[in-house]
């Protein structure tokens, strides 16, 4: 890589000063985040008491099915939820609670210190503006004193960094003139324009071709490493998480089911839901028979089952018993050393000590 240009420094100074926090202090600490939507059909419990820490420079994977509250909890961090959302809890970012922040201060955080990569790049780009001007806008929103020339240089440099060929010509094109993978690179360039401390990537590869997924993930990871940002990577693709994340958070029905280091969670899962997810993932490294599946459907968030939200679908549920009546707390399972919200986490890890595979069904 070429040494940072003068533009680079102008644009990057504000965030780099506060960049290197101590290892012990999380950059982003979410505590007991509860998001509810009041709708005509009732109250939707989108997330119920989600807590997690994000440390500097690490990647936290957030995994779960559609409607498990992954995206909502990310949107809540940026304060981008619609007006009918009730958000409680705390979102500590660099010592401030983002939830209580006045709008102007929250805007200064958005895009500059916490940025978001959206899932559908075509939808996330304004069809009427040239790609270059949209990236430039991400910069001028926070830096009014940048000269036109600096802006253009920085824009072209960003486009080059994310691997778009002939970046200065690309900057003059419209979003529809790019392929899906290239568009997603543009969105990544926009998010990273101000060297944010935290990147929230909401299913950044879901809308892409499998062949381009890996490339885009690679670009995202390379850019993240260069800026030293921490990242929350939201996905339902376990393969994506395995390759990139340091730690993982498994969500179901708005609650955290299991969390811990990526290796620990995937080799010694301590929650039946995680086991089910892993069992339903095709693997090349294991000679397995049929893929297992998780029976049933995720619950409606209007009417979450009592007790453990997963119990109606859980092959290990003890019924009648605590599963249907008591909400399990997220606690460290003694056998594995990471946290799981299952009443029988300790028993589970004894059942399948070596691997993620449940007994294949059928």
């Amino acid at each position: 890589m070429s040494p940072p240009s003068s533009t680079d420094r102008v644009v990057a100074t504000t965030s780099s000063a506060s960049r290197s926090g101590t290892a012990a202090e999380p950059v982003l600490a979410v505590r007991n985040l509860r998001v509810r939507f009041r709708t005509a059909r009732g109250v939707v419990h989108a997330t119920e008491g989600v807590s997690y820490d994000l440390f500097g420079g690490e990647v936290l994977g957030v995994v779960g099915e559609s409607g498990s509250g992954k995206t909502v909890s990310a949107m809540a961090v940026l304060g981008l939820l619609p007006a009918n959302a009730e958000v409680t809890g705390q979102i500590h970012f660099r010592g401030r609670d983002l939830l209580g922040l006045p709008p102007a201060e929250l805007r200064a955080v958005r895009g500059q210190r916490i940025a978001m990569v959206f899932q559908d790049a075509l939808a996330a780009l304004n069809p009427l503006h040239r790609v270059g001007s949209q990236i430039a806008e991400a910069i001028t929103t926070h830096h009014r004193d940048v000269t036109r020339r600096q802006l253009r240089d920085r824009t072209v440099q960003l486009l080059g960094d994310v691997g778009i060929p002939n970046p200065s010509a690309a900057a003059r094109r419209y979003p529809h003139e790019f392929s899906g993978g290239m568009r997603q690179r543009v969105v990544i360039a926009m998010a990273l324009a101000n060297d944010p401390e935290v990147i929230i990537a909401d299913e950044p590869t879901t809308a892409l071709d499998v062949t381009t997924q890996a490339q885009v993930l690679d670009v995202l990871e390379r850019m993240r490493e260069r800026t030293g940002s921490a990242m929350v990577l939201i996905t339902h693709n376990l393969g994506v998480v395995t390759g990139v994340a340091d730690r993982v958070l498994v969500m179901y029905a708005g609650k955290v089911m299991e969390s811990g280091g990526i290796g620990a969670v995937f080799t010694k899962p301590a929650h039946p839901y995680t086991i089910g997810l892993l069992g339903s993932m095709p693997r090349l490294d294991q000679d397995g028979g049929r893929l297992t599946r998780i029976a049933g459907q995720p619950p409606s968030l209007l009417d979450v089952p009592p007790g453990c939200a997963f119990h109606p679908r859980c092959p290990h549920a003890q019924l009648p018993g605590p599963c249907a009546t008591d909400v399990p707390e997220l606690r460290t399972a003694s056998a594995t050393g990471h946290r799981s919200a299952c009443h029988f986490a300790d028993d589970l890890t004894r059942v399948s000590p070596s691997g993620p595979s449940l007994e294949p069904r059928g």
């Binding site: 940026l78 200064a108 958005r110 780009l125 069809p127 929103t141 529809h176 998010a191």
Partner: protein, 323 residues
């Protein structure tokens, strides 16, 4: 800036790529230009009774002379000037108010939206023509009064359209993406939402223009126009007693008025076609959809069928909004 002019020529090229666009421009541009350049085209006092009366059209008097020995051509040109001044003023004022109110209403929603839209409902209930008659009775006939009145009753339709468009555009992901990058509400509206609303506004403006021309002429026809200004409506009214013998007195002002109004309406249609799909990720330079191009040879039947289908389900049926 080059980008703007380039998309401008592309727009014009696409407009000229369809029959309605060409016909509309042919009908609108000459009278509009004549009106805007009235002082150059017909200098002097158009109402001067300087010529013999009732002269038929000739090389000397292009549109003949009237019962008072005035040249009709000069009067028609100055009548067009009145139309154009009224149209341009009303459209500018109505567009500014309509877009501002519509954007505020659609973007903020809630109580603001409710109050503004009820205000719009109330104003829509007032018929512009009769309001103008009453106002002229009280305040006297005056060009500026008419402009203010028409603007005050015209912005509501625009506000509704803009609001509806803002409501749909603001839900789109690029708006949320802009917010996620720290864009303020005002900036988001101006840079991301309004450009995506512009096509809907542009389509309505010619229809608004045709309505304004008709109301202005209609009031003058009834003798309620500004007495200091010539109007096509006044000329037509003045010609009425002489309709039987001196056809040119009615025909020329009538033709010009018809041409302007018809042209504006066709222009609205052509804009609608050209700007048909403003927000599907189409670039401003994108190709015009083939189905609306000039019908030629084997393509004709398909064009007719497509036109019928388009009429049945036009995406922007703005004519219905403007009474």
């Amino acid at each position: 800036m080059t980008s703007r002019s380039r998309s401008g020529t592309a727009f014009l090229r696409r407009l000229l790529g369809r029959p309605a666009g060409v016909v509309a421009l042919v009908l609108v541009v000459p009278p509009a230009l004549a009106g805007l350049l009235a002082g150059r085209i017909a200098p002097g006092n158009p109402k001067a009774q300087a010529y013999p009366t009732f002269r038929p059209p000739s090389r000397e008097f292009l549109m003949g002379t009237d019962n008072e020995g005035r040249a009709l051509f000069a009067m028609v040109v100055h009548g067009l000037a009145t139309s154009m001044v009224t149209v341009v003023s009303v459209i500018v004022i109505a567009a500014v108010i309509g877009v501002a109110v519509g954007a505020l209403s659609g973007y903020r929603g809630g109580v603001v939206d409710g109050v503004l839209m009820r205000l719009v409902d109330m104003l829509e209930a007032v018929p512009a023509f009769f309001l103008a008659i009453v106002a002229f009775a009280v305040l006297g006939s005056d060009q500026n009064t008419l402009i203010v009145l028409l603007a005050a009753t015209s912005w509501t339709a625009l506000a509704r359209i803009v609001r509806a468009q803002v409501l749909s555009v603001k839900r789109r992901e690029f708006v949320q993406a802009a917010r996620s990058l720290g864009s303020s509400g005002v900036r988001t509206v101006i840079r991301h939402i309004l450009p995506n609303v512009t096509p809907a506004v542009i389509v309505v403006l010619p229809l608004l223009a045709s309505r304004v021309v008709l109301i202005e002429a209609g009031l003058a026809f009834l003798g309620l126009g500004d007495p200091n200004r010539l109007s096509l409506g006044y000329l037509i009214a003045n010609a009425q007693p002489h309709l039987q013998y001196y056809w040119w007195m009615s025909v020329f002002p009538g033709l010009v008025l018809t041409s302007l109004v018809l042209g504006f309406n066709l222009l609205g249609d052509a804009f609608n076609d050209v700007l048909d799909r403003p927000s599907e990720g189409q670039a401003p330079e994108g190709r015009a959809p083939a189905r609306r191009a000039w019908p030629g040879g084997a393509g004709r039947q398909r064009v007719v069928a497509a036109a019928a289908a388009g009429a049945a389900a036009g995406p922007l049926d703005v004519a219905a909004v403007l009474d």
